[in-house]
Symmetry: D2
Subunit: 247 residues, 4 copies
């Protein structure tokens, strides 16, 4: 499969280029970055494009790809409902072309969220601990919030009430943040990268699901999974989890 | 739901009685043990029976239940293919009666195995660590072996080759036991009960699924789940996992 | 060594009796509880007494022991400076008699605190996570608070500044409670007993010290350690850590 | 403090240069590698040299340093008793000059070993789990072996017998490797770097000490600690742990 990379000289793009070159079954045919002629995608015969560029240019990139029948795997941020609707419009006129827009290419993070939601209805208690390097600006992390929302939804659907908690005396913040009724705790520790643990518990037992991201290259397997599957998923897909066969 | 317990004076049976009495929606109507008249199950109106007795008597117990239209949830061991076939024969003549035979009532252990198998195809590496009290006679544990077999099957189905391992100099046993190509390590530590960790890893990230059984009472939620669901599953079911809606 | 137990019919006292009977080198010679004649301690030849009774009676118990030359290991709560001063006065008149008053008999908790404090000056970051059953009334736990204070003191002594934390947007409570500048997070999970993790981190590495109390009997080894060492430590000692040879 | 680096263009040496430049209180005054004139160390006024070179050249480097009154912090391997004796001889003629030869500059690994040995005498059970990337050639790791030896020595000194283990049926390797009576387990997982866990257990409780090295830069703080302390430790020191004030 011939692959072009948009944003090829960026930190993430360069890593994607390396991964595409090393992986079996994929060939890197075009590296494009700001100032380069996007036409090279067509000339090089790219079948799939990976886009890690910028919200300002990603829509133009995608219009070009869709018009030229090139599938796209997109990690660039900034997609709101309006942009997704525009994309769907373009794709309606290009049957057979697939576009994947994914906020998170970490397969491990996706599996962790999926498993936490699947297990949630079987346990009385559940809390989330996320651990990151101390230069992170927000707490809790987006992944932790999203996990809490998924877990809370699964509990509601199963008819579970609130998690038990007899705390009557407490220091401010000791019991973490409340996200949709689920307690979330954020640690900031030098030396760590990005880590999360979901702890579920019932009478006499606990189940813990932990994801450790030790290197920024951990998005590569997810991008490659997207590259390999996008042609088989025409139209717009939001979220890599829809490509992963988990059942 | 009216519940009778066979083996009610045994350690596990007594705990089941306690759980049935405390749970919402179940009522304990009969406690039966060796020497007691099993007829009390009918007189008390038991709809479901829980059997934690002995391989020598469990088949007689089950024939009685099936003949009297009482569903059964069975934790007694010693079921081979012949016994299961006999059971199926009895149930063929009693449409509507359900029997669950389960080697493991720990919901957490079942979820751990299920999640490990579901994640296996996405990771290059996987190993299993089980930790138990030092009075355990076998290593690795049955659950660890079963997990390794499920993980190995999932890898084969996904076309994955052997896990990477460049070990060329090694002390005997340092790399654990080989179960179907998957490395399994058993720790024996005073103070522990029954614990297992499945570690999966790919470029830059790992996913860890851990189950901790801290108390023998951890089988109760699984038994109750069986009691509640058995009437809706006529015929023979082997393994509690078939009652758990995980998808 | 002949041991008497005061509060022998209480939950903890009964467990202490069992431990004394089973341990090598100790003999249980007297079980005393409310209503019993404390004189039996003398008649039975008890050399050491273990007291898990009540703040209302413990001082009378100890006066009796000190006057009769019996060493005491005390887990009963309620000791303030005034009581300790009274005890010291009695012991001044009974050279050779040792009394240990300990708020915590868990050797693991003591080691965890000691190691966390010893490591603190070598790491830029440190946070504490404590996990307990959901029936606990206070958060964070007393042990977590004490650990934070010890770690904070060690950092101050080493001239370390505040831990790094770039958090600028945060949900209330996401970063835990602040105890003396150290972040402490409390989880409440059904199935757990009493657990704590201290996470220290510097460039490229982390050190984690975790203590798991899986059973209330975990105080027994500490009580036995106290029983064995008290005769060699005449006078008043507050805190089991002073008996543990850690250097 | 003026610092020169020998082996400055190697992977580790380059990282040391970066760390010395960034750290407060140290100044990088010379980078020397194969082919360069070592005399630049004297001309630049280097007070301390860091040597990450090769066993073939390190002795010549050190003779030069000692003769010119420059302290040395050495991470180069290949030091046997003969070499250490030679070094001691040179240092006898150069009072005031300090040389630190350290096989391991990870402060976390040193603390883990120290704490494991300090805790060993208080626990009935102890085992070691080390986890590394799958390209590692030896199992178990040198650090795990060393930890096992230290723990075994501490147990012997405390008069503890063998760890309890009732295993009677076992798959080959399931219980790990035996290092001095201590069980050691090695996992090889893609995505991991270098990690180790020491699990100690007694009745009702466990203590776990875990070290995670997530990045090769984790030796930098240890090298800097050595650079800062070497002048205050004249003569030969083997092992960074002797510079760390742990008591």
């Amino acid at each position: 499969m011939k692959v072009g990379v948009l944003g090829a000289r960026g930190k993430v793009g360069a890593e994607v280029c390396r991964a595409v070159e090393e992986a079996a079954g994929t060939e890197l045919v075009a590296r494009v970055d700001a100032g380069d002629d996007i036409g090279v995608l067509v000339e090089s015969g790219a079948e799939v494009v990976v886009d890690f560029t910028h919200p300002d240019v990603v829509m133009d990139n995608l219009r070009f790809c869709v018009e030229h029948g090139i599938h796209a795997v997109v990690g660039t941020t900034g997609f709101d409902e309006e942009r997704l609707a525009t994309l769907r419009g373009w794709l309606a006129d290009a049957p057979g072309v697939g576009v994947l827009v994914a906020p998170n290419f970490s397969i491990g993070a996706i599996l962790m969220m999926r498993f936490a939601a699947a297990a949630a209805s079987f346990y009385e208690s559940v809390e989330i601990v996320e651990l990151h390097h101390p230069d992170k600006a927000d707490a809790p992390s987006g992944t932790a919030r999203r996990t809490a929302e998924l877990v809370a939804a699964a509990r509601r659907e199963a008819g579970l009430g609130p998690v038990p908690d007899a705390t009557s005396t407490s220091l401010d913040g000791a019991r973490g943040a409340d996200v949709d009724g689920i307690r979330v705790h954020g640690l900031r520790i030098r030396g760590l990268v990005a880590h999360q643990e979901v702890v579920l518990g019932g009478v006499g037992e606990t189940l813990t699901i932990r994801h450790d991201s030790l290197d920024r290259s951990s998005f590569s397997p997810g991008v490659l999974a997207g590259v390999r599957a996008v042609a088989a998923h025409p139209g717009l897909t939001v979220g890599l989890e829809h490509y992963l066969d988990l059942d």
